[in-house]
């Protein structure tokens, strides 16, 4: 009898506890005057992707918010005043289910004014339809890829900034290699979204440029030994070695190539080589290694300023010569679009973003919109400061053909330093 009563009481309490927020939601108080603009985001504060928050977009959005607030906030004409930005960051624990729920919580329950993107390409893919459904602008950061491209026309609120495989890194790489007379290339890639995509696109672009792909080998995440792959590339005499993996595997490939004395004319790696700490880790062995990118302090005066501001706040080793200027420019663009629109109405701001050009650290910046301006957009090709970088005398030089180039590519790359 007692037991049954107990069960009943517990279930009633549960129902009440769950129902309470519903009633609370029903009786809203009068709207207080707007004092702050809230930007919400589900970010990986813990879990395997925490490194993104620490090194990629994390430092950039915090720096941007501080700068905007130092100016007094964003000027919104509708309210006739500057409103400071407040961040509301939730931890998604690097879990997809948590991220999608947190994002909807920010939008539906917390009713944040704007959202910032989650980390990694896959999470960005999942966040884009949610943001779009609720009419929230999603200015992308860490991520982008060919899988999303066919969906763009149906995602008018998505704006991607980061460059990736066919947008336009591999085509540019193919130009650099064919200009240098490279004839053969070997590819090692990670069994992962990133690796599969890059190796696929590189295969097409390089072949079109008349370069023979003599080897394509995949490695699993967390691989400990790649000596058989390096040996095979060496035996085949591949003039270019392309490692489309993450930092751990890329660094392993470089270490193994040094140990096995395989010094191809071109050595390019995926994420890893683009970080400032790379030159510190590899010292003279970093010379001549290529990576995705790219920008440096010579790209423009604005880049130089951005660099100075960054190293005043953070460890210079955290600097990313691939994405940091793009993430920052995205936020600068977003900021100007909001002020130009003079309202917090996302539909209005979205139209401004889709049709305007604003000045950012990249120079004049705009988005190429899909579906005749009705779909989502990607940063225009002309806005990028570079697609491929190469370490030369401790500087990550932009080696693209054309105006972005800060130094001509060094091909063949210098020999590995002699062992001490």
């Amino acid at each position: 009898m007692r037991r049954k009563l107990l069960i009943l009481m517990v279930s009633c309490t549960m129902v009440l506890a769950l129902a309470a927020p519903l009633f609370a939601a029903g009786c809203d108080e009068a709207e207080p005057e707007k004092e702050v603009i809230v930007f919400g985001a589900a970010r990986p504060l813990t879990g395997p992707f925490a490194v993104y928050e620490e090194m990629a977009f994390g430092p950039i959005y915090k720096m941007w918010v501080d700068e905007v607030n130092a100016r007094g906030g964003l000027y919104i004409e509708e309210y006739g005043k500057r409103l400071p930005i407040e961040l509301k960051i939730y931890d998604d624990g690097s879990d997809m289910g948590t991220m999608t729920s947190m994002l909807e919580r920010l939008i539906l329950e917390d009713e944040v004014d704007f959202i910032l993107p989650p980390a990694s390409t896959a999470f960005l893919f999942a966040a884009a339809p949610i943001a779009n459904k609720h009419g929230y602008i999603l200015m992308g950061a860490e991520g982008g890829g060919t899988t999303l491209t066919p969906l763009l026309p149906s995602l008018p609120y998505y704006f991607g900034v980061l460059n990736y495989s066919d947008h336009y890194q591999m085509p540019v790489l193919a130009d650099i290699l064919s200009d240098a007379g490279i004839e053969t290339a070997a590819i090692m890639y990670l069994e992962d979204l990133h690796g599969v995509e890059y190796s696929g696109v590189a295969g097409i672009e390089l072949t079109n440029a008349g370069i023979d792909i003599v080897m394509t080998k995949s490695v699993p995440l967390g691989v400990m030994d790649v000596s058989s792959i390096i040996n095979q590339a060496k035996t085949l005499g591949a003039e270019a070695f392309l490692s489309f993996c993450y930092p751990d595997e890329n660094f392993l490939a470089i270490g193994t190539a040094i140990a096995l004395d395989y010094n191809p004319d071109v050595f390019l790696t995926g994420p890893g080589a683009n970080f400032a700490f790379f030159a510190g880790v590899f010292g003279p062995a970093a010379e001549g290694i290529m990576g995705y990118g790219a920008w440096n302090t010579k790209s423009s005066a604005a880049s130089e300023d951005f660099y100075e501001k960054f190293i005043a706040l953070y460890d210079p080793g955290l600097l990313d010569w691939w994405g940091h200027n793009l993430y920052y420019a995205g936020l600068q663009f977003f900021e100007q679009a909001i002020e130009e629109a003079g309202t917090l109405d996302q539909a209005v701001i979205r139209e401004v973003m889709a049709t305007s050009t604003f000045d950012t650290i990249l120079g004049p910046t705009w988005f190429d919109m899909t579906a005749d301006g009705e779909g989502g957009g990607l940063l225009a090709e002309e806005c990028y400061t570079g697609q491929v970088g190469q370490w030369q005398n401790g500087v990550f030089e932009v080696v693209d053909p054309g105006a972005n180039r800060t130094a001509p590519p060094v091909i063949p790359k210098p020999a590995w330093p002699a062992e001490e």
């Binding site: 009898m1 069960i7 939730y90 624990g93 947190m102 896959a122 893919f125």
Partner: protein, 317 residues
């Protein structure tokens, strides 16, 4: 007081109350579109995972860490068939495929006991994850897949139906001869076999039945995630959470895992949003305290306090 208690304890009153709760939940999306829909459907999902886990592991004492494998199989069913078939059919197929996997795995491995079984089931998650990855890369030339998008209301209703089915199944298994057989396997498997119970058959079928609901909930939740890959679909988190939730709630009664899952999901989200930097720490402390001081879980604790309260009342009179 007594008359109130007798009304409250009246069986038809209880059933009526349950029906009212169910109708209230089922009609919620018709007049409300806020975040609580998402919050509730996450809670439903974890209740399904936890109760399914308890159906098999709670009574037999075989600790299974395979939930994530069945969950992931459901997710992949949705990714593969979501745009070709109606979502209810996809969920049904997800449930069946998961159940078949559980049946095969169970038939092969349920002779393993104790920690060996736990380790094997955990290995199963990794095995299926890497097999899927290998297949996708080498056969399909891709890594992830986009999943068809479904409105939150539909997901809510489907998840609620899965929840009701899970709870009914758990309830009837507990009250049946089958439930007694499971319990006797948990207490002494040899003795159970000597009494004439076909222990292997009972275990394998129960394992397969419990996987039905896990697969179904994976199939429907995948539509909320939009993009999946093997790492996302076969996340070991979904093996551990049900176990922790069941321990937290207490496994003695059906209500235990239900309350455990609700409290845990709610706590996890509130802590994760209120104290994003500290919540893992707070969470860990709560878990340790729960395991040390609440051997019968939340429900056990409430029950103890309740009984103590009654004794004091008796002593007063």
């Amino acid at each position: 007081m007594n008359s109130v208690a007798s009304i409250v304890l009246n069986r038809s009153f209880q059933l009526g109350l349950l029906a009212v709760i169910l109708i209230a939940l089922a009609t919620l999306p018709l007049h409300y579109q806020g975040y609580n829909i998402v919050r509730l459907l996450n809670i439903f999902m974890f209740v399904v995972l936890t109760v399914s886990w308890v159906i098999f592991s709670g009574s037999t004492g075989y600790m299974s860490l395979a939930s994530a494998a069945f969950f992931g199989v459901g997710i992949y069913t949705s990714a593969l068939l979501g745009d070709k078939l109606p979502i209810a059919v996809v969920v049904g197929i997800g449930a069946l495929v998961s159940s078949c996997v559980a049946f095969l795995v169970g038939a092969l491995t349920l002779r393993l006991r104790g920690i060996y079984f736990a380790i094997f089931t955990f290995g199963l998650v990794e095995l299926i994850k890497h097999l899927t990855l290998w297949w996708e890369i080498n056969m399909e030339d891709r890594r992830g897949r986009l999943v068809v998008y479904v409105e939150n209301d539909i997901i809510f209703w489907v998840m609620l139906s899965i929840l009701v089915a899970t709870l009914l199944t758990a309830y009837f298994i507990r009250r049946s001869k089958w439930g007694l057989a499971l319990q006797s396997i948990g207490e002494n498997e040899e003795a159970a076999a000597h009494m004439g119970i076909n222990v292997t058959l009972v275990k394998v079928i129960t394992f397969a039945v419990s996987a039905l609901f896990v697969g179904a909930s994976g199939a429907i939740i995948a539509t909320r995630w939009t993009y999946i890959d093997p790492g996302i679909a076969f996340n070991p988190l979904y093996s551990f959470m049900p176990v922790l939730m069941a321990i937290f709630g207490g496994m003695g009664r059906l209500l235990g895992p239900v309350i455990g899952a609700i409290a845990f999901t709610y706590l996890k989200e509130e802590l994760g949003t209120e104290f994003p930097e500290l919540y893992m720490l707070i969470f860990g402390i709560i878990l340790i305290v729960a395991i040390l001081y609440m051997p019968n879980g939340l429900v056990g604790l409430i029950q103890r306090l309740w009984i103590r309260g009654f004794r004091r009342q008796d002593a007063d009179t």
